[in-house]
């Protein structure tokens, strides 16, 4: 085996997919590497949806618990990143359903933001005000639109990958992106008008 081939093999043996195959076969230490590669991305995904650090951390833990639980069902088809975000998305849907029933999210929503930021928008500088308005507008989007924008803008997935994660067509993803941005524009504009009154 020449040196180049050897290097390719080595690279391949450390790919997400190869590591997950090893986890599936019982080498649990490899899950540590996958955790290091994905924990911050997953945390960001959940935090943008929940605005709660504690819940986001719980959900990240939940993703890795599910990976271990369902590791034997992993067959290596498709990209690992889309697979792990499918799990993340399903976990968030479960959390969201449970939460809508108990209504606890509303009571505690944006807890970290409340701690970190003054809720009085008028006291903020122009930039901070715009950021807060955008954040409020983003929160008013429905869950599917939020997830689509997060996966596209912050997680860097292509529309085709998002379609795989969200179990829909690529065209549906594009429509959601298009409409979400227009909706965001409108909500921000409305919020600005309300603020001026």
């Amino acid at each position: 085996m020449n040196r180049l081939t050897k290097n390719f093999d080595r690279l391949d043996s450390n790919s997400d997919k190869a590591l997950m195959m090893k986890v599936r076969d019982g080498d649990f230490d490899k899950l540590g590497l996958l955790f290091e590669r994905y924990n911050q991305r997953l945390f960001g995904f959940f935090y943008r949806l929940t605005h709660r650090r504690d819940i986001s951390e719980d959900l990240v833990q939940g993703v890795f618990e599910r990976i271990l639980k369902y590791r034997e069902s992993y067959n290596g088809d498709g990209a690992f990143s889309t697979w792990i975000f499918q799990i993340a998305r399903n976990l968030h849907i479960d959390y969201y359903r449970k939460n809508s029933r108990t209504k606890t999210e509303d009571n505690f929503s944006d807890w970290d933001s409340l701690e970190a930021e003054d809720s009085d928008i008028k006291l903020k500088t122009e930039d901070e005000r715009n950021r807060l308005l955008l954040k409020q507008a983003f929160d008013q989007l429905d869950e599917e639109k939020k997830q689509t924008l997060i996966l596209s803008r912050y997680q860097g997935f292509k529309y085709k990958e998002i379609a795989e994660i969200m179990d829909c067509t690529e065209s549906a993803v594009k429509v959601r992106v298009f409409r979400s941005i227009n909706e965001l524009k409108e909500i921000v504009s409305d919020l600005k008008k309300q603020e001026e009154l």
Partner: protein, 266 residues
């Protein structure tokens, strides 16, 4: 608002993924007024503004919790295997005479010994090589992750881990240089000087050290960089030291040291 029949074009534009034909078509539609450039730009700006919504980093408790869970799973797996093995043994014992089992074990052990005797040494070497490479990559991931920690002790640990990485790549060098030039803690920056010096066979590490000289404000770090350049006999650093010397506020001890360093390097 842009007509939804142009969604494919607009979304491809927003993801910076237009091919030549699509770009041409979009230009034509803008020129003919069917797509308002202002609307398109507004959408692009709105997407751009989303970058201002940042997220915090997860706490270290999340990592601790994950590794605790992983350890528990590993333990459970071991227990489960030994439990299965015990069950199998009992079953086999009931099924066969003990003497028959001893005979099987003897054949098995002999096979193992013969297999071990003829195992190709080169294959073992390859496995060890691969294992070492994986350990090195794990260290790399751990190091880069720890460098973002808010605790200086953890960041110091991260820099020290880099000394255990067999051959550093661009990611590690960049992380160390970022630490050297931006870390708030002097001890962490000093450790970064040492780490980068030990990896000076990497051209990026060497040139990064040189470029960092003029950026340092701390006399201790300035002196450490002078020692490092002397150890590496790096003549290209002389110009950077001269830049430091031109500063009026430079510490007098450091000034002497730099003058001596320049004299020895020239």
């Amino acid at each position: 608002m842009i007509d939804e029949k142009y969604i494919d074009l607009v979304t491809a534009y927003l993801q910076n993924d237009l091919n030549t034909d699509q770009q041409k078509k979009l230009d034509e539609l803008i020129e003919s007024g069917k797509i308002d450039l202002l609307d398109l730009k507004e959408m692009e700006i709105m997407i751009g503004k989303m970058d201002s919504l940042d997220t915090p980093k997860p706490s270290s408790a999340m990592r601790d919790r994950f590794y605790t869970m992983l350890d528990e799973e590993k333990e459970a797996q071991t227990v489960s295997w030994s439990h299965k093995l015990n069950g199998w043994m009992v079953e086999q014992k009931q099924r066969f005479q003990l003497s028959y089992l001893v005979y099987i074990a003897a054949v098995f052990l002999t096979g193992l010994m013969i297999g071990d005797l003829y195992a190709p040494i080169s294959n073992q070497d390859e496995q060890i090589e691969q294992l070492m490479s994986e350990v090195s990559q794990m260290r790399e991931v751990m190091m880069i992750s720890l460098l973002d920690n808010s605790s200086p002790t953890e960041r110091l640990k991260a820099v020290n881990i880099s000394n255990e990485i067999r051959s550093v790549d661009e990611r590690v060098v960049n992380a160390l240089l970022k630490t050297l030039n931006n870390d708030s803690n002097v001890n962490v920056r000093l450790a970064a000087v040492d780490a980068l010096t030990s990896h000076a066979n990497n051209p990026a590490a060497r040139s990064g050290l040189i470029n960092s000289i003029a950026q340092q404000e701390s006399p201790i770090v300035q002196a450490a960089l002078a020692d490092a350049m002397l150890a590496l006999q790096e003549r290209q650093s002389v110009d950077e030291f001269k830049k430091l010397l031109s500063r009026d506020e430079l510490d007098s001890n450091v000034r002497n040291k730099l003058e001596n360093t320049i004299a020895e390097l020239i």
